[in-house]
Symmetry: D2
Subunit: 152 residues, 4 copies
């Protein structure tokens, strides 16, 4: 099962070519991830809104991969970022994404595919901590096949 | 052979964790790439400084992959981004990077490894155009083994 | 009369102090402005969504002033950016802002006050063009006293 | 006396109009400020490189004002940001800027004029702290007339 996260572009996401900059794409993915991991269906135990608010868990990015399929123009309506888990390990997980055109605006365009490897880290010791049973149960409906990259 | 490109951090590259943000990393790679492909040793024929200045060739990013090995703190001295080519195809190439601590500041730390797949595109037709013989000759000293990612 | 524009923060708006960066504030103001001038109640005749889509009018920023009253922490709910016109000239206008805490979340905090001087420019000739009668009529309900800066 | 701080543009400072974005301008000013206040001629006692490294003093921005005189295109050479103090109070100071074209590249263009009101704050108590005699002596050569804004 996929989560659909609406993410609004900003004018400053565009670069001088008039398209969303390649680095800005990772910021858009980050926003979709925060939306589901900090507040939403994939809530992580002990993750707080800020670094200073007594968070018990940090989510660190170990790796990221993006395949850019079509340039993203300025869009008034929010992108439909589809997000699921491609893998759940002991202390780590892979988040998979398809960055799609706004929902309900004609045939869907897939602008990009991506994956992020994430490690849960204890904020006090900075060591990896295991995914809890509660997290595992809550997240398992979103576990699916990892994204397939065609251009590797 | 590797190119060493000094890239200065900005304070705004840091996020609330006090480290360089994961998306900012792609901006740093972009700066190193522009430095060598627009002005430097890997100069592309017909690439101009801006989108509006009659460029004959565009360089499009098809894919990117980053492995984050250690968090980057604020650094006064420029990062040493080491850059080489992991592959040269007909109209495309792979740029490989190691993002290292400032040169001459004690033992070198590798903060990240990365690769970008780039396609040369004719600015008029927006179709891929072949790497010229002149480019191929100029670039071949920088062709080496592709970066190896450990966490795939 | 003021317009209330909800603007969502991004995690990357924060800097290493854990607060919204001073430069990111201008990006937030830009988003609120685009929302009302490109699509909303203060729609400008001939402004299109992108630089490449045949816009007849450009909106150029001549000056900006910001007074930072309180640091903005990471907020899950969108900021309430209140926006009005402090002046309407022949070809130029002053947009005034109060950047406030999310609506309906306890007593309102004013994080910042700001003003932007904007000139309407003909996209073909790049010369200032007069505010049309239609624009003037549509905008006049939002004309009010200019923002007062205390720290000049 | 003015300080000349070379600040390199990044490709991502440009927006879809092909010019440096109005908000990016504040990031460029920030870089010039950090360069002289953290490491250079206007060094502040007790300011450290990061928020986490035991800084005794923080520099907070109370207000900023920018007048945009000419659009900044992509420039290969660093901008020449000229910086001086327009006022020194008890715990606060005004930094003034002229953002100029790269040095030694023909007649100088002034792209923007700006000023930032800065307060020195004790990192422990978060209360303003007085400018020390040592700072005052070191900074006084850079005290000059405040920047004059023409479009207020």
């Amino acid at each position: 099962m996929r989560l659909h996260v609406p993410i609004k572009l900003r004018w400053s996401d565009l670069d001088a070519y008039g398209h969303v900059n390649n680095a800005a794409m990772l910021t858009l993915l980050e926003e979709s991830r925060i939306s589901v991991f900090w507040h939403g269906d994939l809530k992580v135990d002990g993750v707080a809104d800020t670094a200073h608010a007594g968070a018990e868990t940090l989510t660190l990015i170990g790796r990221q991969e993006v395949e850019y399929l079509a340039p993203i123009p300025y869009l008034r309506e929010p992108l439909d970022i589809q997000l699921w888990l491609g893998r759940m390990g002991g202390a780590s997980l892979e988040v998979c994404y398809e960055v799609c055109s706004p929902q309900g605006a004609g045939p869907s365009v897939v602008y990009a595919r991506a994956a992020s490897g994430i490690v849960l880290v204890d904020a006090a010791t900075l060591k990896p901590r295991r995914i809890s049973e509660r997290e595992r149960a809550a997240w398992s409906p979103y576990l699916d096949e990892p994204v397939v990259f065609n251009r590797r």
